[in-house]
Symmetry: C2
Subunit: 109 residues, 2 copies
């Protein structure tokens, strides 16, 4: 899930950790440093992200992460998986409620 959301965010364009956390928070997704930094490192190690150092106007330089072609491809797959999951949950939610079905075997203690 988080991988998916981070990749979705980065599809808009390069960004760095603190900014990603901010943008996710705006979307009501609470993520902290200790979660995001290892996640970004892992996605980079897997070739889905790359980064460029970029100097900041104030403070230390930042690692701007962006999608690689592989990352974009994986994002498409995650997108399909998400749609599938949403469909599945929709199915489960629309299922008939507690009414006992005709063929149910009665529960004997």
């Amino acid at each position: 899930m988080l991988d998916f959301c981070v990749l979705l965010l980065l599809r808009r364009g390069p960004s760095y950790a603190a900014d990603i956390i901010l943008r996710l928070k705006e979307a009501e997704l609470i993520v902290v440093e200790g979660t995001l930094y290892p996640l970004l490192s892992r996605l980079r190690r897997d070739g889905l992200l790359s980064y460029q150092w970029q100097e900041s106007l104030q403070g230390p330089p930042r690692k701007y992460y962006s999608l690689t072609p592989d990352g974009l491809r994986v994002l498409d797959e995650l997108d399909a998986a998400w749609e599938e999951l949403a469909r599945t949950v929709g199915l489960l939610k629309s299922a008939p409620p507690v009414l006992p079905a005709p063929g149910d075997v009665p529960i004997r203690l």
Copy 2:
């Protein structure tokens, strides 16, 4: 997620592990015994599920799990959380693509 899906399934009525696995598989959710049994135990320990032993016509007796009032309440909360997540992902997905925004600071190497 899995908690949510299992609770959704059990909202239809009591069921036991092997049957839950089957029904989830029909919904394209692959779950195995080693995952489900501890999950059911945990939900029961937390008071969201209860179970009754029920003899089977063929084979050993089964633990039929069903939602408790607490379980139904938590399910409603998870439902709200799911809707919120779906909304969030929808937002992230509908975000503008890679076009550089006007105010972007140019990347300097």
